[in-house]
């Protein structure tokens, strides 16, 4: 099957997502934004929202939609940017990012009208929520999937492993955990702070259908998700990514975990996008 058109569509979507991220990060000004960890999931979230997930553009509350949980809630720049491209959030609304009384804070707050299904931000909680949703959908005889994005730093949290242990026991074939493995966390590399070693081995040994993939390669993302689909187990996708991906100044530079995007760098980034 020729998927080149799909890939092109996802690529275009991800370019727009990056543009939206730049707008929001710049708008945030001195209050800073979690820039690096949002850029590492741009292709993944674009693949999900423009291609993989069953959603309805005119109805964020569509009962038969696939569910999405951004467990690493600090990467919400990418989430809001994707929801904007889908059409749930307007270009005007994204400019309220982190402003007083905004619906778009630095971590997602449940708002079904805007397509934000859950509140997240405190790390290590999203996968448990996903399990609850996955059980509910199975009980209701729905065929939808649940996609949860976690960070590799987030995998320091013990609660992640409570959930990781439970999902295979519960035979949740409709649950996807996508681990953004960008090798960094807030104050250093994973190796410096808490060496998670092989996430593949860990998730695999917990009983997940586990795959590793270049998280920026859209073609490979399409392939790996398709390959996983038939497994009766819950799926763990270890996405090898680059923190701050897409801009020369931020790639693999952990100073961009949470930083201010200056006017100069904003202009430079826009040029790099073209």
């Amino acid at each position: 099957m020729d998927i080149s058109k799909d890939i092109e569509k996802i690529k275009n979507f991800s370019t727009e997502v990056k543009k939206n991220i730049l707008e929001m990060a710049f708008t945030a000004g001195a209050s800073s934004s979690h820039f690096g960890g949002a850029l590492s999931i741009v292709e993944i979230i674009s693949f999900l929202f423009s291609h993989k997930m069953k959603i309805k553009k005119n109805n964020p509350n569509w009962i038969d939609r696939d569910r999405f949980i951004l467990s690493k809630g600090h990467a919400c720049l990418a989430y809001y940017a994707a929801l904007c491209e889908v059409g749930y959030i307007t270009k005007e609304q994204i400019k309220t990012f982190e402003k007083d009384d905004s619906d778009l804070l630095g971590h997602p707050v449940i708002n079904r009208k805007l397509g934000i299904d859950f509140s997240n931000g405190s790390l290590g909680m999203g996968l448990s929520l996903g399990i609850g949703v996955a059980i509910a959908l199975k009980k209701n005889k729905k065929e939808n999937n649940i996609f949860v994005i976690l960070g590799d730093g987030e995998c320091n949290e013990g609660s992640v492993w409570e959930a990781a242990m439970a999902a295979p026991n519960l035979n949740l074939s409709n649950l996807y955990a996508i681990i953004d493995n960008n090798n960094f966390q807030q104050t250093g590399s994973n190796k410096e702070i808490m060496n998670t070693d092989s996430l593949y081995k860990k998730w695999s040994s917990f009983g997940w259908e586990t795959k590793e993939v270049d998280g920026h390669d859209i073609e490979k993302l399409c392939k790996i998700f398709e390959e996983s689909e038939q497994s009766p187990k819950p799926k763990a996708i270890i996405a090898k990514t680059i923190k701050g991906k897409g801009f020369s100044f931020s790639e693999n530079n952990n100073n961009w975990h949470h930083a201010v995007l200056s006017k100069t760098l904003y202009e430079q980034a826009k040029k790099e996008l073209i």
Partner: protein, 321 residues
């Protein structure tokens, strides 16, 4: 559920935990979307029959309370009516932040049942006692807290919690052979306290297993010509402000008695409101005096922490001087 003299006696004998299991079993017959979630405590929570009869409405998540709350919230977000239960410290403090984010902040409706709260499990030590749950949960917006006075009230509270659209924590105290406070059917309304005894000198507000002890204390005091009102403050949050206001207008002394730390619980909730009233009387807060004591039997710990009828009387008499 059928409420009659026989059932009230049976529930009292088996205690509030086992009564909870029976009540859940009855609720499962009527509530299609009910789910009961536990953490490897089905026997302790009286759910052995439930899990056999309703395996589709039951989920054991193993010894993992943080995951318990997240899974419960996920189910609730898809329209299930969820009860979670485990021992009170693990049901509340172990997963406190999950409760804050999923139930408080995200407003997913869940009924949490903390079994063996207070001092019941004193011979297992204070890891298994729970004198902090009310104080901690009271600071999370959006959670109602109920502490039933006996086994019948446990049934009433659970039924009300399932019908309610609010998240509720039901704090179960007492052991088997739980004394009967309510010997016949009555109207139970969340947030509305029940005056069990009328008196003119002072008012005792109490909750959970302490209600029976306070009624006994009031009898002893009446023999000493001290007339007490006793109010079953089964709902600790939201607190029944009207009842506190009325009591403050006519009582010489307000007393609160709880099987909980004196910081953060029923006494604090009453004091917080009472402090806003003009000319309100003094309040005597009886409970565990902010200490982890040596452990022992339930009776031993009630005695040690001044929660038996006799000790409550002594404390009140001291404060009336």
């Amino acid at each position: 559920m059928i409420i009659n003299e026989r059932n009230i006696k049976v529930w009292s004998t088996i205690g509030s935990r086992a009564t909870f299991g029976i009540a859940a079993l009855e609720l499962a017959k009527e509530v299609d979307n009910l789910m009961v979630l536990t953490c490897d405590v089905s026997t302790s929570a009286g759910l052995d029959r439930y899990r056999k009869i309703y395996p589709d409405k039951y989920l054991d998540l193993g010894i993992a309370e943080q995951n318990l709350i997240g899974v419960a919230a996920g189910l609730a977000s898809e329209g299930f009516n969820v009860i979670t239960t485990t021992f009170a410290p693990f049901q509340t403090i172990r997963c406190c932040e999950q409760i804050k984010v999923n139930i408080g902040y995200m407003k997913q409706k869940i009924c949490m049942v903390g079994i063996a709260s207070g001092l019941t499990l004193g011979n297992l030590g204070f890891t298994h006692c729970c004198i902090e749950d009310v104080g901690i949960l009271r600071t999370i917006p959006g959670i109602t807290i109920i502490s039933p006075s006996d086994s019948l009230e446990t049934v009433k509270a659970l039924e009300a919690a399932i019908k309610s659209d609010k998240s509720i924590y039901i704090r179960l105290t007492g052991s088997s052979n739980n004394p009967i406070v309510n010997d016949k059917d009555y109207t139970f309304e969340i947030g509305k306290s029940i005056k069990l005894r009328e008196g003119k000198d002072l008012t005792i507000f109490c909750a959970g297993a302490m209600v029976y002890n306070c009624l006994e204390a009031a009898k002893i005091l009446s023999e000493k010509n001290i007339s007490c009102s006793v109010v079953n403050m089964h709902t600790i949050k939201p607190i029944d402000k009207d009842a506190i206001k009325k009591a403050s207008e006519k009582s010489k002394l307000i007393v609160s008695v709880e099987e909980h730390n004196i910081i953060g619980g029923l006494g604090s909730a009453i004091a917080e409101y009472k402090a806003t009233l003009n000319n309100s009387p003094k309040q005597l807060i009886i409970g565990v005096d902010d200490i982890y004591s040596k452990g022992g039997s339930y009776k031993f710990l009630q005695e040690k922490h001044g929660l038996t009828p006799g000790k409550i009387v002594d404390n009140i008499l001291q404060n009336l001087k």
